[in-house]
Amino acid sequence: MALLSKKDSKLVLDPLADNNPITIQVLGICSALAITAELKAAVVMALSVLFVLSMGNVAISLLRNIIPSKIRIIVQLVVVAALVIIVDQVLKAFAYELSKTLSVFVGLIITNCIIMGRFEAFALGNGPKKAFLDGIGNALGYGIILVIVGFFRELLGSGTLFGFKVLGDPVTKTGLYSIGYENNGFMIIPPAALIVLGIIIWVQRSKNRALIEEA
């Protein structure tokens, strides 16, 4: 017996490519710009969103029959804000170092439109198991793009990956730098993320023409 039924695995796999929250739905762009100058930040952000989105989706899904529809957006905001604050406090108490890296993202997670989007579009109409899988899938789809963008920006902009100097040392001119290679300073400023993102969208749509909308 497969671990997940076909329908359920579709919930996880679809957002990774053909229904990716960033490249297809174009949500969550602001955090994709803000924190992809280095790979480590992108990975941390992806993991935080994974946690908050899957847990939040389950919470909203459990409450879906009792939430008054008039104030559902406020309820969603309260759920995500409370989750994020609890995570932040627990980390501060038991994993202080990690919490300092994460504190930058706390605000970004609350305002991430992917989270509100999934609560509104999916969790309010589906059971907790499906909502959980949908949360995992969308967070992974978001994370993959973040990591790809972070990889290129850190590699081309700073010549490092996770802080390791993979291309040699630009100051003492070793490795690639000894033959005249220079870091591209443009890659570490936010507009570069849009360009990398644009290229990803272009590649993805030229591979799968069905994704191209009629003009």
Partner: protein, 249 residues
């Protein structure tokens, strides 16, 4: 009986209950974890102060490694020999001066009000370190840190931190390749307390010139860099009356 979730009374009751439940949950979590969080913050301050005077577990070139939290309290009382607050051009001892909220005191001092500016004196290998807390503004939010000086007003080490600078850009002020450049720089230019400028295009990326009051700036982080410059300048100015009395040429 099915709930009528459309009724106004239901909406109001739901909202009120939600506020009470979430509010007490958060309050419960926050107060339960408070002692642990405060302890972590105290350890972090001690680690940062010790880092600025060169007491750390750095290995290799790139990493910032503090003394471990398990031993930081013992190290702190071993290396920090005096904790004081400034009183005009003199300083008086005060217990746990390092816990003073520097952001408030510096703001007071800048307004000309009476403030408690902490100053720590460390000793390592027979050398005396004067450690000054720093506090200023970066691009997005607060930046702070510690700078340690010897009696010639030469920087012995710095530690910077920030609340919300951009990862990969301004956030790099807490990386070794930026902080290490400050060590050995003099904050004096002749007889004036110049501070140290984070300078773009000073043509000295390896920072070999230690007398120019300049370190090389971070690409893409001009405003954070200017914030560091201003922070050092402002804080040195507040401590100048005292520093003048201990300075030897």
């Amino acid at each position: 009986m099915a709930l009528n979730t459309e009724k106004n009374s239901y909406t109001v009751i739901f909202a009120a209950l939600m506020v009470v439940v979430v509010g007490s949950l958060l309050a419960f979590v926050a107060s339960g974890l408070k002692p642990k969080i405060h302890e972590n913050e105290r350890f972090e301050k001690q680690q940062n102060i010790l880092y600025a005077m060169g007491v750390n577990d750095n290995e290799g070139e790139g990493d910032v490694t503090f003394v471990p939290t398990s031993s930081v309290e013992a190290d702190f009382s071993k290396y920090i020999v005096k904790q004081m607050v400034l009183d005009g051009s003199t300083a008086v001892e005060k217990e746990n001066a390092y816990l003073i909220d520097v952001s408030k005191e510096i703001a007071k001092a800048k307004n000309g009000e009476k403030a408690e500016l902490p100053l720590l004196i460390g000793e390592k290998d027979g050398k005396t370190f004067y450690i000054i807390p720093l506090y200023g503004r970066g691009l997005w939010d607060a930046i702070w840190g510690y700078i340690s000086l010897d009696d010639h007003m030469v920087v012995q080490g710095v530690y910077f931190d920030h609340r919300g600078e951009t990862p990969g850009l301004g956030a790099n002020i807490k990386q070794r390749f930026f902080m290490d450049d400050f060590t050995g720089e003099s904050i004096m230019s002749g007889n004036s307390f110049e501070g140290i400028t984070v300078a773009k295009g000073n043509g000295d990326p390896l920072n070999t010139d230690k007398e120019d009051n300049q370190v090389d700036a971070l690409a893409g982080a001009t405003i954070t860099g200017n914030g560091v410059t201003a922070m050092i300048k402002d804080c040195i100015k507040l401590y100048k009356p005292y520093l003048q009395t201990i300075r030897t040429k």
